[in-house]
């Protein structure tokens, strides 16, 4: 068990969490207007079409913004970075930046990142991001 906050999937987000457990970052794309969007929902927020497809994202992104949490959170020892990652496919999502010093010197805006996965419980694996190899 973990003291961390563990998300509870809903019917509309199940594919995302199943993907993370399988080691894939799964996004949705509208088959009508081709827009990729996030968070998950079974219709396109751009055009309203219910014709959408789940696909596996590249896992590549960049560091869009962040803070370094110095006061802690349940199950987490400060300091640790909370980041906004901009995915190659367009959407942004929240992440931690792992396998990296949690300092302003190491966390440089727009640095390339790649997805990795952190097992929280038997049911839930969390997509996370780390500095891209060779960057």
């Amino acid at each position: 068990m973990t003291d961390r906050f563990v998300p509870k999937p809903t019917p509309e987000t199940r594919h995302y969490w199943d993907g993370a457990k399988a080691g894939e970052l799964r996004l949705q794309r509208c088959t009508a207007c081709q827009q990729t969007y996030f968070p998950p929902r079974p219709f396109c927020p751009e055009c309203g079409s219910r014709s959408v497809a789940v696909y596996t994202a590249s896992g590549n992104g960049t560091l869009y913004s962040y803070i370094i949490n110095n006061i802690g959170a349940p199950g987490r020892e400060p300091p640790f970075a909370v980041a906004i990652v901009e995915l190659e496919e367009g959407p942004r999502l929240m992440s931690n930046i792992v396998e990296c010093d949690q300092t302003p010197e190491a966390l440089v805006l727009d640095m390339p990142l790649e997805v990795t996965f952190e097992v929280l419980t038997d049911e839930i694996t969390l997509p996370q991001f780390k500095p891209a190899k060779g960057a």
Binding site: I68, V82, M94, L126
Partner: protein, 379 residues
Amino acid sequence: MTPNSVAIVGAAETTNLGKLPDMGQVMLHADAALNAMKDAGLTAKDIDGVATAGHNPAELAHYLGITPTWADGTSVGGCSYMIHIRHAVAALESGLCNTVLITHGESGRSRAGALASPVFANHYDQQFELPYGVSIAPTRFTLPVMRMMKDTGLTVEQLAMVAVVQREWAAFHPRASYRDPITVDDVMNSKMIAYPFRKLMCCLVTDGGGALILTRADRAMDFPTKPVYVRGVGESLESPAISQMADMTSSRAFRTSGKLAFDSAGISHADVDHLMIYDAFAHLPIYGLEDLGFVGRGEAGPFIAEGNTRPGGKLPLNTNGGGLSYMHSGMYGMYALQESVRQMRGISPAQVDGAEISVCHGVGGMFTASGTVVMTNVA
């Protein structure tokens, strides 16, 4: 809306502000409401419209002995009260009710009789943000700032100056929590909370409340107070999750709400004598000045640092000291509105001489919501 169709005829804060462990949250609402009714020379029997956030309006109406014919429970964070004013204007103009009471009370520090959360929980947060260790507001409302700094040249010293200048305003207010002067060094040496934010760039956590009473302007002269007219209003919503803000260097909700308020009031920026921008954290006045159009992109940091918003400056901003120095219960918007009313009545301890138009701009959640009210003392 029609400019100046509605007037604020009663306005008051709780009898005390600060650390109030002996007053439960509902009573903070009621204490402020009773003070506002006394201010307007009314009793609960004269009120037929109620609006509040964080509590069911029925709870407040029953507690106070009001039989409403109109209610608004919009609860989207600290700007809910600005939005209540907009909704109240529509209700009063169309005759759905005659006298509206808007209440705020929050035991933010003592948590006496406090409810779980004043803002609705949302599943974006539960699934896609909380797992990453964002906790209290300083660890998430601050997230856009590094992007803002890189893209617009905003500096951390300019953020510190927001706190320094607002402390200068707070010094005028006997009821402000913090009144002693501070320097940029004081801010930069205060405890790191969420890099790059230090403690003195973050709001207070205190207890208090406030209430407003609105009626149609044609009745305003029947009241003992100097009427403060609602000249323009705006509101908007964006995302309940800060990670989904479309542009982290500009708030869509701010831009939308601000434009609606200026357009409905029929004013330009040069007409504004006094400005309040909800400052839960030091970057909010920066975003507000730019998104409301007072300055251009990247200009708000230098504008504040150069002294334009301090006492004697050309655009007096957050003249009660703001959430950084005056008080911040959690949903601070009501206190910003109270200071705008005091300025329009000419009774603020930090009175801006001759001020005729005040803009009061609020944020709700973490750039989730916005409400903007333009007030004037000229009918």
